[in-house]
Symmetry: D2
Subunit: 480 residues, 4 copies
């Protein structure tokens, strides 16, 4: 989420942005990517279009580090798309940094993708049969090949043709030689919003990007909708058969920035309400409510309000944790978590504390937090997790560990509580979670909490989702 | 403070650390500097001592960026001192990065200094008369020259001789060929604490460094106390005539990390209590209390508690703001503050909000925050500043702007409220501030709020404190 | 050539190397590329193969700068191919740095190419018709697509199928999952040699790479020959119809390192003999013979020997000229050439000097050399060019300027002599050049001196060879 | 020398340059340092002076790498001094990079020094007695302290006072707030020349710097002469008692660039003549004369001329050898020398070759060259060294290895010949060397060949010259 605790969280694969109609399109994309940085920190890229000429710059790392002023200056044009990403393979390779761009029979096209295709392997097989060469390990490349090999005569038809062959989650922004196109899969699994900023049309994974740009939020791109923006204005198409919406509920639990409007609902409010529900389900007599900052804060405030127990900032988050910290060779106990979180001892000593976190993946950090609080003198430590137990992997665009690594897949809540040596542990129930949402339960994908996948996953994916796409080579290009 | 909002704050010049008795002394110093990073982000350095051989590494930037593993590996020895700093001159020069080290008649010495000398100019004149050459623009170098030219026969006596000639604020850690020495000026203006970690003795500007290292807080180094740690153990001396303590009250208002024990008092508690007092002095009917994160959070929670108005996380702080952000050429209104803070619109629209900040220096950021909240639809915006107006510059180690730049020096609170277009503005009174402190008012320096300086400042310093020390040359050394 | 004067020379596009059968294959490739560095200084890359797993590292710049120890360590396997290149487009893009690698229906393949295809544009059109996507602006990519779309059932047959469709110059090394393959176009335009080093088989553009590796030179890869090295040993095929050899004569004039055996002949000897011939064709009464170092040295020594005029080192070459030298804003006359060459005034003053250079492209540097010698007091300056006038562009792999920029295309030798203000100018005749070669004139391509192209060049290539392949986007990836 | 073979040579400590009277003074200094790069490759720096304001930039590495355009732009002013250096201690430290600059009682001063003081240790002792602090391990700093502590009332008198206390070799350029001063020790051990470029006065270690700048060589700064350049013009003083000139003969053997006029004599001519003398002293029947390029080339041409044996370029020097080359883990025999030199096999096979080098220090490279030539098939290899055996260390500014490492100190020529497995070895005799010089033998320091030191060396220096000055700490500052 926007306040990523950087601790033990699931990682989403990416955020996308598209701008049409501003001579500083790439600059706006750059700033928008900054606002979406919490959705991907491994790489970033922008492709701009000036009169049909594409320019691109991509790199590994944070938006801030990837782009230098001279790089942005080169990205001229009044249209641009951008992307931030997590790597889905073990090693980050600049080849996989999006947007991907290609030249094919009818011209140029660039694409930025949030989501994950579940039939990418069979698509790849089929395309390679025909002689296509794959240059990345990204499933997104299959979409480009499908466009390039389509027999349709207009770009939009080729794109529809291509997407009608893919299954899975996708929120896409595409750049053609004369248009910006946004499209969302028929189930609307991943978010995508539309806004305006002056004369420009903006698409972004989350509305917080519009806030930074000083733009206005218009609405979601609807599930299954394709919006084409070109000289003639905005055209909305619904080229795919309607399906039931399956919005990712985890966006509200953790991914989306609390200041965003996601799937039409205010994220902060959803989390605060989930915190209240958690307090009703798992009340406890205590002195303070703490959050695991920053992602647990809204839920902790909800818990505090409902429980009538004062909220305090008992765990401080460090603002200076870089990527590569040199560890002492004589290990300091729980060193990693101490670098990121500082306990306020004067609040903790002798007190009974409730610690609210948004979700629990592997459980390793929580265990360290409990120990750190215990060392600081806490009398009782009550862990409250503001989501149901995560029991299944995601195949629609979230970089989940394998099922075996999920603590709730292998342990009961009681065992987890014992494992982390907390005095009590409470998870929000699945019913309570859904009760706080603005749409009926059927409108959400909650596969990570239930194992009920709205789109069938191909067998071999289940075996080992990460090796699906072996790269042509593990390529790490050097700096210029 | 430890949760620096990075917005419109005073900047302290530095933090220091010293380690004696651990074979990984430099590694511990490195981690300790990380915990003290909020006290200085312009440069960092460490000097280690192995059997009388000094090794040093210094650089411009964050601790994390300055040191690579190979740099730390070179810093062998069981004693080390470290320093993080703000630049006091316009340009950062690696020459001024501490610790300073020198070779003189009786051997080697290294020093790290938190504070500022008020008679540095006249000392420099006097030393240059005798033929001393100055290599830095730092007042700390004068201390080294005074040691080198002292006629005393032991290092401790030379140090006492040197310090008896300086006036101002200093918390020092020094490394000699066989000892680590910590010393604090007789008024104890800047903090310095002592702790233990295994067999090692640790001195640090704040106790939060001990928390990270897994060490135990023992006590403050007392005002005027000199502690020598060597093979024979720890020796405490009080070589200077006693003076009234004048601890910097601003450490509790802003500088120190909320998790630290500074001047013997828990910083978080002081801020929470100041927030409560502020609510009593400036109550208002409102829907929410917001903090300017993170430095205003403890005070905002105090205000919320006392006022009975719910605290909400209405302003989110970005975790990805680097040093050099590329601005769009077509200016986005209030761009800078939007990069750092995101408003949660769903909480703001139509609501009456109290915004608590710890202090107000130039007032530029607050004005932007008010405007941003107004754009997000706030019905009323009540600014609450959890300290008295800052009306005077600091000459004891805080990088204050000139008096003319301090908004409270040139404007009344009413004018400031009008300037920032808030619906109301309240400053904590000086009496209320002192009432929350653990010691009587006379035990604190509050010159920035009152203009009453405990140590007379030399005339020409007042004129232009920053040009006091002109460097021999504006030297910026290149990388290796 | 190996001693590139770095002045006003034609630039060849690349050098290639391939290693089979050494556990340090990538290390050997790295060293071999270093020996071939004079063939391309814009970028370098290596792909290694361990049991069918490809690893690749590529970057812009010199071999020395591209690879760090950790990069090489990652390139495990007992087979590797490598490439050094000049950029053929104005901007260097890491996308175009070879070896190119790809994943297709039947597995993985990587290729490094020295040469240039003349029907690349029509191949690209045809391949895009079928739906192929191009990711680079390199003509080499067309070869990969032809392999991927071939209906043949073995790799060798697919490769033969692919190459039978291309026209132009190519010396290729390819890596498949289990073999290293070297192949040279039927005319043998660009060089490629085979050697051994212990148990390893090595292919390289020039034999100087074998010298550095301590290997033995075996023979040329013959024109039109394909050599497959795999577990079963070395297999030689001649899959293409025989054509007359057309070895690039410019390899002997300038490109190849004087220590190499190219097209079966010792390069140093050819140049020395051309210098002798030049002395016979253009004798002059003078005091000294100078070379434009280092590429003119062998020819100058030949001239000196034949003419009986002593050779002296009158122009010294600087060893410290980096890529980006900061020019003074007040221009020093002939600054660029002075940075690279220093005149030995004591040899020049009042003397009549012959200056031997290997070839003349634009003539700008020669003009500056004449002026520099004149300023140093030379009494007479006689320029001798050890090749015929360059009057036509190369389309077989040399980065020639357009015809209009070639001084000999627009000016007669007399005009050139006047232009550079020399006292006389002599070019080696085309007959004399061929007379020094080891094979009859028909066995060489001398198109740059005669305009007689052995392979017809497609019309539109002639128009603007550089824009043939527009990239999908001008992509410049950032460093990690 | 200017064409440093980079192989097995003595290293001089530095080159200096000074410019007065050009608004681009720092730019000219930068270019001048480039021309002097062969005199020091470990570090470079420039100090400029604009109206009394000094600006400085220094860094480790080549001139080309140290300065970026923005760095040079900051160095405003119409006076500048610059320095290139070798490190004299094992580790390069930016602290020791010159020019050194300091602020003292009477203002600012900067100095760049070529040479070495032999009483630096006792000066340091004496200065530290008085309380001076040393910040570098450079003997040059003692000069600054002597100036700062002098009781004289004008800068020139303070400088004379300071220099009258030092013993050793020094060619200095100094910058004061209003003047540029050049001074050379009374024996004139190290070179220093004066030139003009437009209105500007230029001092440089060698005249080749003037050639690059397009300036005119005027004359040497005389031994013991001090030249002050300020608003009133140039003033020449001879403040020291006259002593016999002792110019370093090694400048003519190796250090100076062949294109320079050093000590009033053309370096190229001296080397050519020494080569002729060597041919008379050690003739041999052979097919070719080769040089160890580039430093042996002038001597080899002299040898060839006198012996009537043709000179050929049998060893090619690589132009792409960077500082840090990754070695293969499976060692290639004589790898290091092969990276730098390529044998031209076609010239070597079955031939009897004479190889001329300028001097022999440790002898390790020569041994590898012999082996490499043998492997290339040479029938006979005759090594000719164009200087007498080096038997003693230098204490006047050359970074000589200890006496024990000098091959000629421990072995006779016969033993050396056997050691390097050459067919014969001949050294130029000391008498022949002096006979080619322009002044009588007494006017040169030839201590490295004779052990006769013109200035007595203090005892403890002899023991271990490198540890004389222990640094205050081994400081390696990080990049910004």
């Amino acid at each position: 989420m926007g306040q990523a605790s950087g601790l033990d969280k699931l990682k989403e694969e990416c955020g996308v942005i598209g701008i049409y109609g501003d001579t500083e399109a790439a600059n706006l994309a750059y700033l928008g990517l900054h606002a979406l940085q919490h959705r991907g920190q491994e790489g970033a890229g922008i492709v701009s279009n000036q009169g049909g000429e594409f320019r691109s710059f991509r790199g590994l790392g944070l938006v801030n580090d990837v782009f230098r002023p001279q790089d942005l200056e080169g990205l001229v044009g009044n249209m641009a798309i951008g992307h931030v990403r997590y790597s889905t393979t073990g090693e980050s390779s600049i080849r996989n940094v999006q947007p991907l761009s290609a030249s094919y029979r009818y011209g140029k096209v660039a694409v930025a993708h949030n989501g994950n295709l579940v039939n990418a392997a069979s698509l790849k097989d089929r395309l390679e049969e025909r002689g296509s060469i794959f240059n990345t390990s990204s499933d997104t490349e299959a979409i480009l090949h499908l466009i390039a090999t389509s027999k349709q005569t207009t770009f939009v038809n080729r794109l529809v043709d291509a997407l009608s062959q893919v299954r899975g989650a996708y929120s896409l922004v595409l750049l053609t030689e004369d248009a910006l196109i946004a499209v969302r899969d028929p189930m609307g699994i991943r978010p995508l919003v539309m806004g305006e900023c002056g004369d420009a049309t903006i698409f972004a994974s989350e509305s917080c990007a519009l806030d930074l740009l000083g733009g206005d939020y218009l609405r979601e791109v609807h599930p299954g909708e394709m919006i084409i923006v070109d000289r003639t204005g905005r055209t909305s198409l619904h080229p795919f058969p309607a399906e039931e919406r399956k919005a990712c509920v985890f966006e509200h639990v953790y991914f989306s920035k609390p200041s965003s409007i996601t799937f039409g609902e205010a994220v902060y409010t959803r989390r605060f309400d989930m915190g209240r529900a958690l307090a009703r389900e798992y009340p406890v007599d205590a002195d303070w409510v703490f959050a695991v900052p920053d992602s647990g804060t809204a839920a902790a405030l909800g818990y505090s309000t409902e429980a009538g127990i004062p909220f305090q900032q008992g765990l401080l988050r460090s603002h200076y944790v870089g990527r590569t910290f040199i560890e002492p060779s004589q290990k300091i106990r729980d060193f990693g978590v101490k670098l990121k979180l500082s306990p306020v001892r004067s609040l903790i000593k002798g007190q009974r504390v409730v610690v609210v976190d948004d979700s629990l993946v592997r459980g390793t950090t929580s265990k360290k937090i409990v120990r750190m609080l215990r060392q600081a003198g806490a009398a009782e430590i009550h862990m409250r997790i503001c989501s149901p137990p995560i029991v299944a992997s995601c195949f629609y665009g979230v970089d989940t560990p394998t099922r075996e690594e999920l603590i709730a897949h292998t342990k009961t809540p009681e065992e987890i509580c014992a494992h982390m040596e907390a005095d009590s542990l409470g998870y929000l129930s699945i019913d309570a979670m859904h009760a706080t949402m603005g749409a009926p339960r059927e409108a959400y994908c909650d596969a990570c909490f239930t194992g009920r996948y709205p789109i069938a996953v191909e067998d071999h994916v289940d075996q080992d989702q990460l090796d699906l796409f072996s790269e042509p080579s593990e390529d790490t290009e050097a700096r210029e």
